[in-house]
Symmetry: C2
Subunit: 109 residues, 2 copies
DNA sequence: TCGATATTTCGACATACTTCGAATTATACT
DNA sequence: AGTATAATTCGAAGTATGTCGAAATATCGA
């Protein structure tokens, strides 16, 4: 039931670019230790983490953190939703699947 | 018998950066339609492609192509060896495995 | 309503990246 | 030796990225 479909090589290049910064990659991995909503491998609270938590101990300014979150969101790797004061983030598993599929699949071109 | 071992998040970020340019990603995918040497899924000739072939129809200057090949090589994604006038390239399957493993594995941190 | 907490937006700056053309190196062929 | 082909190195130019601080927005609690 993968609803995600990325079309071009450019799309995937953008996704890789989002993971090409060590701060963003760390953020993404911290999220990937949680589960996707609806995947039933943890409580709701375990699936999501707020922006502040994700950037803890990274040594970057809040504005920089926000910029990185925005970038991960832009390419579709993560989803974000407000919950009170916090912005809760979680991984879009479809995009991750598309990415690993893209890597292992042989090029047509 | 995976002899490749990447240590840090920074290493993986570098690998993703190498794939974050659509020209380099296209080059890499053209190579991944071949097989690794020793994997026995094709003749020797099928496993490798020279720099000029990999950059065909990409619309970039030879010097730019060379720069991209160098970058893919630097992070370990591909291997290069001279064969006469040509430089033959092929994929390092260990690094690709490490990459997909890294993506699916949960973060410890 | 006022202050605290969480996050974003904006503008600025330094650094890194992509690309090119010109010149250079390596190999093959005649 | 001389020429052609394949690829690299170098320097330059424009663009993109990562980062910050200051100011703004959103929500919660007293």
């Amino acid at each position: 039931m993968s609803k995600y479909r990325s079309n071009t090589v450019e799309d995937f290049a953008e996704i890789f670019k989002a993971l090409s910064n060590s701060h963003r990659l760390t953020i993404y991995r911290r999220l990937s230790s949680c589960c996707a909503p609806g995947s039933g491998c943890g409580s709701e609270a375990d699936m999501r983490r707020c922006v502040g938590d994700l950037g803890r101990d990274l040594g970057i300014a809040p504005s920089t953190l926000s910029h990185h979150i925005k970038e991960l969101r832009r390419v579709g790797l993560i989803r974000v939703e407000r919950r009170g004061q916090r912005m809760e983030c979680w991984i879009d598993p479809d995009v991750l699947d598309a990415l690993t599929g893209f890597l292992s699949r042989s090029a047509v071109d």
